[in-house]
């Protein structure tokens, strides 16, 4: 009775919220208050695919849902950002029948890594994709070991895992569970030595001896091996190979595949999504064809005109590997450019911590961009970071006052790459100031 009431009240709030523009979490919050085991009481006709990880979970979730829909299946998916318990509840209550049944062929859920124990206490996914684990958002997550333990505690014995064979951290999850590994062979952008300051596996996570790499894709992701205990990248069940970054083409298990957004993250996410879809019952051919037509959300990447100059906006959270990738993307574009770094306090908590900026390899920008403009309320802290990285004072400008940023950018030339490394939602400030 409480369950049906929760469905009904949640639905009504969601309906009302459409007109008032309320947050996506509220209907789920109320439903969970009325019926605390709301998630456990839902009945699913189809399979549940869950996705978590430090980087790429939103994109991977969206590629999986897109691919399944392309194959003609009905899919329920949580909207961007609603990956905590209440957000998941909102998604499900708005897509279930009034009797509490999920009629779709698939429910595809992005799940916050820390909340996975709470969510999976009530409902068990059939397939669980973990994209990777990194140091990420120190204020929320502590460190990757803590996140690893939280995720592991959430995995029931029946769950089929889709894991990143090139990630020494997340590959070790729940060793007794059935699993498939995805990964990527060496590309022409692979490195023999680590190029990034953030390297979460300098030592083997099993025996703590120095970990060796045949090659690095980025940060600690790559073909690894421990000469002491034998821990290594396993044989890959879904191997991306022959990656042509410029053309956006590659192969998965020898079958031609395509992406529309040509970053290494995206090739990896696509491979993970294809692996999940094949486990869900699609043929490899159909999964690859579906994934190829996916286009990346404009929320995370956008292009615009800024006073006659090309502007590019890329968002990250307090996550050094993600900002490293934004820097890589900017550097890969052949045009002349400047970089605007926009860093604010941590959203919601207002913490002033910027230690994660010391894990970002800004040094790669030296001599390769016309200027770096430091902005946001942590502008001076970015300047201190750059100075310690060996940048000369003429290579960067610290602009604390957003009102002055348009002038500062106006004195430079080239495309404007804005790396908004604060939190989603407050990037409007910098865009307004630059227009």
């Amino acid at each position: 009775m409480r369950f049906l009431l929760a469905v009904l009240v949640g639905r009504l709030i969601r309906f009302a919220g459409r007109f008032s523009g309320r947050a996506t979490n509220l209907p789920g919050q109320v439903a969970l208050r009325i019926c605390p085991d709301f998630l456990g009481r839902l009945r699913f006709d189809g399979k549940i695919i869950a996705v978590t990880g430090s980087n790429g979970k939103t994109t991977t979730t969206n590629i999986i849902a897109h691919t399944l829909r392309q194959a003609g299946y009905t899919v329920a998916i949580n909207e961007e950002g609603s990956n905590l318990t209440a957000g998941v509840a909102t998604t499900l209550l708005s897509r279930c029948t009034l009797g509490g049944r999920m009629p779709q062929d698939f429910v595809v859920l992005e799940v916050d890594e820390r909340y996975s124990p709470l969510i999976f206490r009530e409902m068990t996914p059939d397939i669980f994709v973990v994209t990777n684990l990194f140091r990420d958002q120190v204020v929320r997550n502590g460190n990757p070991d803590i996140v690893f333990e939280k995720i592991e505690s959430a995995i029931a014995p029946s769950v089929l895992l889709v894991l990143n064979g090139d990630d020494p951290i997340s590959q070790r999850l729940a060793p007794r569970n059935p699993r498939v590994y995805f990964g990527m062979e060496r590309t022409d952008r692979s490195f023999d030595n680590s190029q990034f300051l953030t390297h979460d596996c300098k030592v083997c996570p099993k025996c703590f001896h120095r970990l060796g790499y045949r090659f690095y894709h980025y940060n600690h992701i790559g073909g690894f091996h421990c000469d002491f205990c034998g821990y290594q990248t396993p044989p890959l069940d879904f191997a991306a190979d022959h990656v042509d970054f410029a053309a956006g083409r590659f192969q998965i298990n020898g079958m031609p595949a395509r992406v529309t957004y040509r970053t290494i993250f995206h090739f990896m996410n696509t491979t993970a999504a294809v692996a999940a879809c094949v486990q869900a019952g699609l043929s490899l051919e159909r999964a690859i064809a579906g994934a190829a037509t996916f286009s990346v959300s404009r929320v995370r990447y956008d292009e615009m005109d800024l006073c006659g100059r090309k502007g590019v906006l890329m968002l990250t959270k307090q996550n050094s590997a993600s900002l490293d990738q934004s820097i890589s993307f900017a550097l890969e574009q052949p045009e002349e450019k400047i970089v605007v770094l926009y860093v604010n306090n941590v959203l919601y908590t207002e913490n002033k911590d910027i230690s994660w900026l010391y894990d970002v390899t800004f040094e790669r920008l030296r001599g390769r961009v016309n200027s770096i403009v430091c902005s946001g309320n942590r502008a001076c802290d970015i300047g201190v970071r750059l100075r310690l990285g060996g940048f000369a004072p003429e290579e960067y400008q610290v602009v604390e006052d957003l009102g002055r940023i348009k002038d500062a950018v106006g004195q430079t030339g080239g495309a404007v790459y804005i790396l908004a490394a604060s939190a989603f939602g407050d990037e409007d400030g910098i865009l307004e100031a630059l227009k």
Binding site: R135, V138, V139, R140, N141, G142, N143, P144, D145, I146, L197, H199, K202, V203, P205, F208, H209, R210, N345, N351, K352, D353, I354, S355, W356, L357, Y358, D359, N377, C380, D381, G383, V384, R385, R387, L388, G390, V398, E400
Partner: protein
């Protein structure tokens, strides 16, 4: 001037959130002052001599990694204690400080002995505890510092040699407590993690003064660092 030797202990294993930039802060200012310096790394399985370095640095590590280095560190405890008593300069940020206490609980509930230089012991909570810390430094009551704590353990035992008097934020334990860190001879230990010396130019000057001696003038420009700290502190509503 003779070469300054910095020993970075377990840099591969105790390595989180930009800690190693504390070493970079020191080496880049020494470079600027024209003083030769060298950083030696000693990792798991490698021997080291605390007396052979002018400064020893240990950073913040994950609980499993800290447990892994503790066994290696223990046999060096006697030499390490002697070095600290002989005024050797030591800087510990984050969890590495636990190695110097009586004992700490590991992630899997074992009781791991420390080298017993200080009285504290640590209890593992398994819960992430984070927060901004604004504090006054024990070595200079006029110096206000900013730092960030990210830990899953807390300390128990009386803090007889605090490094900071906390104005805002958590102290050493779970209970409200305005004392944080350890300051003893030239040993500086704190829960505050990450680039502590980059955030706190006054702290860096204190370390350099102790490293080089009071007669060496620290003629360098740290106006940007001072301004960054002033702006950060200005965002706190301090009474």
């Amino acid at each position: 001037m003779k070469e300054i030797v910095i020993l970075h202990l377990y840099g591969d294993t105790l390595d989180l959130y930009g800690d190693f930039f504390n070493v970079t802060c020191i080496t880049s200012r020494l470079d600027q002052l024209g003083i030769p310096c060298r950083v030696i790394a000693a990792n798991l399985g490698e021997p080291f001599d605390p007396m052979a370095a002018d400064l020893i640095y240990l950073g913040h590590g994950k609980a499993r990694n800290l447990a892994a280095v503790a066994g290696h560190f223990l046999p060096f405890g006697g030499r390490m204690r002697e070095a600290v008593e002989a005024d050797k300069l030591v800087l510990c940020t984050g969890s590495s400080r636990l190695l110097f206490g009586q004992s700490f609980q590991t992630f899997d509930g074992r009781e791991q002995p420390g080298i017993g230089l200080f009285d504290y012991t640590a209890i593992e909570t398994g819960q992430v505890f984070t927060g901004d810390v604004v504090a006054k430094a024990a070595f200079d009551p006029d110096l206000t510092t900013y730092g960030f704590i990210n830990r899953t353990a807390h300390l128990v035992g009386k803090n007889t040699h605090p490094l900071f008097r906390v104005i805002q934020g958590p102290g050493d334990g779970e209970a409200p407590d305005d004392l944080e860190g350890t300051f003893y001879h030239n040993f500086f230990g704190t829960w505050q993690m990450g680039p502590l010396l980059a955030r706190n130019p006054g702290f860096l000057r204190e370390i350099l003064r102790r490293l080089l001696g009071p007669e060496v003038p620290l003629n360098y420009d740290d106006a940007l660092e001072q301004k960054a700290l002033r702006l950060t502190l200005g965002e706190f509503k301090l009474s």
